[in-house]
Amino acid sequence: MRMRSVYLMLPALLWASVALRAEVPSAIAIKDAHVVTVSGEDLPKATVILRDGLIQDVGANASIPPDAWVIDGAGLTVYPGFINALSTWGIPQPGPNRAVATAGNVPQQAAPATPAPNPAPRSHGPEDRPQTYSFERAADMVEPSDSRLEAVRAAGFTTSATFPNRGIVEGLGALIDLAGERGRDMVIAQPIGQQIEFRVGGGGMGRSFPSSLMGNIAYVRQLYLDLGQYKQAKETYVAHPNGNRRPEYDHDLEGLAESPRLLLPADECQQVDRILNFGRELKVPFVVYGLHEGYRRIDELKQANVPVLISLKWPERPKDADPNDIPNYRDLLMQEQAPAVPGMLAKAGVKFAFYSDGVDSAPDLKKALKKTVDAGLSRADAIRALTVNAAEIYGVGDRLGSIEKGKIANLVVTKGEAFDDKSTVEYVFVDGKEFQPSKEQQQPPQGGERRGTNPADEGDANGGVN
């Protein structure tokens, strides 16, 4: 299949493809490295063998096949590839001015290179299905050309739970690998969920419903009521077609029905309370994302038995803040405590993973992860959060998230332990394919003010509810 498509391509592409292929060995062995398997014991000196995009073997006595390229693992540590539990990585983002609110106040992300000629028509209520893109699929949108992929691989990330991000109901996410020749090569699993983002503000008479937080909530509630009715109507019709009118096919609800779980936003503690109640009310499996004030709701999260995704964009006072604008005690506490939330969750036994929330460069991701480790999260728990937890939250723990025979060959190989200041990422393997991030990608640029995050991705989560 792959061969045929190559023949059909332009000569230039053919050449590129062949050239690329020539560098790919049939098997790779990382010999005598420290292997953090995550699923089992740490192996202080073991060999990992990769073939055909899978982990062929791992162990102290794994025999190296004769055709394998061998990497001397002395002084190196091998981890499962890191998983970003929620992002837009892989969906190419247009320039910095992406999130333009149109007259209809529908944030128009997205793909079209030219601005949409007509703003979204005004929504008059839930029946207009405002800002609902439940049918859009990240799996159809991801491209290896996304410029962020190379940068984040340099921080050890091989995988992302990628979601489209426009509107309130944002579309079907996909778990993707952060490399591939074509978008379709990147998709590991889909659909993995539907992300809800509350879009608050910009209201007023004559503008689009909803503008308030309560309007957003009511809208999502109505959608799920509609979904219940839709399912029931379809069942009734299948059982009793005679004499009943055929239920109309509903694009939006089909997308919702297909989603195995819902991602709901909550950053502050009252939002956590609200969203736990709301998720239960909707009667769908759900995951809570945000959680910077989670330190005040550890017990509740534990009791709710709901997985959570922690934003790596730790709250901090903006550098250009008005000096007169002094945060109150609660804000200060949140700045201090947010990085400690993961450690507390780990102790309480709440399943959590991390998400980038607009932190899109290797030095910044590394810094953000180090901050939570410094605030009390053990290295082992940090690694689990970045690997097996994320995989399990999305139901792919059987193929990703640990270094085990037969699993997908996504690995990160570091010199020094992960999260150490001086550690470097030496190799990243995505589907068994080797990448060597440059040192420059892992260092903050020298001198001058650097842009910490990709501006295109700002406001990725929690739109306006803070």
């Binding site: 209809g104 937080l213 059982a239 009793h240 009252q270 405590q337």
Partner: protein, 465 residues
């Protein structure tokens, strides 16, 4: 562990403040509102309820004794019109019927104004959706149980409401031509643009609600006959209106002009529902008899008007005139600031209209309780009612009076002395945190991201956040 200390302190303080205990308040001037005044009286609260009132009340040995010599005890103040503690927008103003939204979903128990209200003796608030729509959002009554979660603040058993609005606000159509608030032009003008249109929206919504009610009845009848009909769609906009028709949800209608008040009462009669309260109702004095005949309550301001055309023909005698015509009248705040001194608003009806001291106090206690259908639980100091009480150092209708303590369900939610005592310690703690996080030293105007300021607010306020 060190970083846990501030939270631990907050929790410990909270627990200390509001432990469920038996309380005997001794030797106060007890303003019961409904049963006269007891001089040198005592009130016993057990299990959150008032257990005894009188001159000689004995308490069990473990009771906490509060010596209130020279002080005044009154029922917790009730505000029939509040927008406090709403997160993410008071209005869903995009549509003319926003009955699908519910304030209950967005109560923010961390809103500092809850604590500030408590410090003014406020214990219960009717938290309303804004007035941007003819038929507005669903509303909820809360008790100001500061430190608790949003759910724990809900007033158990209080009938929920819905906000209506008449006049200038609901007929605003948006700003189609200008770049208002930098949002660009609104894509279209909102209906309605006239007062006639406001009436039409209400009529249409209830016509829809009746059809909806009939549709579901038809479905249930068909199921009962053993048929297999496809169920109708559950409509969050119409569900609360059906509840209004069934008397399960109160209508709180924002209004000013007498002609519109009469219009609304007529539409309600025609559609077969009741208006529970008229809010603001500045021209209520002109149609007080009609309001009384409809059995509708009026919740107004003491002396706040002329902030827009429809609010000009007003008088501070409004509350007194309506009271004399047999309307149950309350005074409300509609404001985070005004809610902190509703006792003083009440005092004004003695000056304007010559109401009695008890009638004045009733304006912010038993009357709003009646309007909200919670007068069997709160609104006066009576045996069997909730232990919601406020202790003032002077008579609460005195402009120099200050709140000393506030209890809700017998729990201590505000204590002026404790509050003042903990301030220096709190400031120290905050300073340490600021230093640690390298917050700029400049104090300046001190406006935080939230509405809570620093120096002006109390330690307890922020401790519990």
């Amino acid at each position: 562990m060190r970083r846990l200390i501030p939270i631990a302190c907050a929790i410990a303080m909270l627990a200390g403040l509001s432990g469920a205990e038996t309380i005997l308040i001794r030797n106060a001037t007890v303003l019961t509102v409904t049963k006269g005044t007891v001089q040198n009286g005592s009130v016993l609260v057990e299990n959150g309820k008032i257990a005894a009132i009188g001159k000689n009340v004995s308490a069990p040995a473990d009771a906490t004794i509060v010596d209130a010599t020279g002080k005044y005890l009154m029922p917790g103040i009730i505000d029939c019109h509040s927008h406090t503690a709403i997160e993410g927008g008071v209005n869903e103003g995009t549509v003319s019927d926003s009955s699908m939204v519910n304030i209950k979903d967005v109560i923010d128990p961390e809103d500092i104004n809850i604590y500030r209200g408590l410090a003014g003796g406020l214990t219960v608030s009717n938290v309303l959706h804004g007035s941007a729509n003819a038929v507005g959002g669903q509303t909820i009554v809360i008790k100001l149980r500061w430190g608790k979660t949003a759910r724990e603040m809900l007033f158990e058993g209080a009938t929920p409401g819905i906000k209506f609005a008449l006049g200038e606000n609901p007929k605003r159509q948006g700003y189609p031509s200008q770049n208002f608030f930098s949002q660009g032009p609104a894509p279209e003008r909102r209906f309605p643009g006239t007062r006639m249109g406001v009436e039409e929206v209400i009529r249409e919504s209830f016509t829809d609600a009746k059809n909806y009610q009939a549709e579901w009845k038809q479905y249930h009848d068909a199921v009962a006959r053993g048929e297999h009909p496809i169920p109708p769609r559950k409509d969050l906009r119409l569900e609360p209106l059906v509840e209004v028709l069934e008397g399960k949800r109160y209508v709180h209608a924002h209004c000013y002009r007498s002609d519109e008040i009469l219009m609304l009462l007529r539409v309600a009669d025609e559609m077969g529902f009741k208006i529970r309260t008229l809010q603001h109702v500045l021209e209520g004095y002109k149609v007080a008899r009609e309001i009384a005949e409809h059995g509708t309550g009026a919740s107004t301001f003491s002396d706040w008007w002329a902030y827009k055309i429809e609010a000009y023909d007003a008088t501070p005698y409004n509350a007194a005139i309506m009271t004399r015509k047999g309307v149950v009248v309350s005074l409300n705040s509609d404001s985070d600031e005004l809610q902190r001194h509703l006792n003083l608003e009440a005092a004004k009806v003695m000056r304007y209209g010559g109401l009695s001291e008890t009638e004045a106090l009733a304006m912010v206690t038993i009357n709003p309780a009646k309007q909200l259908g919670i007068d069997n639980q709160v609104g006066s100091i009576e045996v069997g009612k909730s232990g919601d009480m406020v202790l003032f150092d002077k008579h609460p209708l005195d402009y120099y009076s200050k709140v000393q303590k506030v209890w809700i369900d017998g729990h201590d939610y505000f204590d002026r002395d404790k509050d003042l005592e903990t301030r220096p310690e709190f400031q120290k703690k905050k300073k340490a945190l600021e230093d640690k996080l390298k917050v700029a030293e400049d104090t300046g105007t001190r406006q935080g991201k939230r509405n809570a300021s620093n120096a002006a607010s109390t330690p307890m306020i922020e401790e519990n956040q």
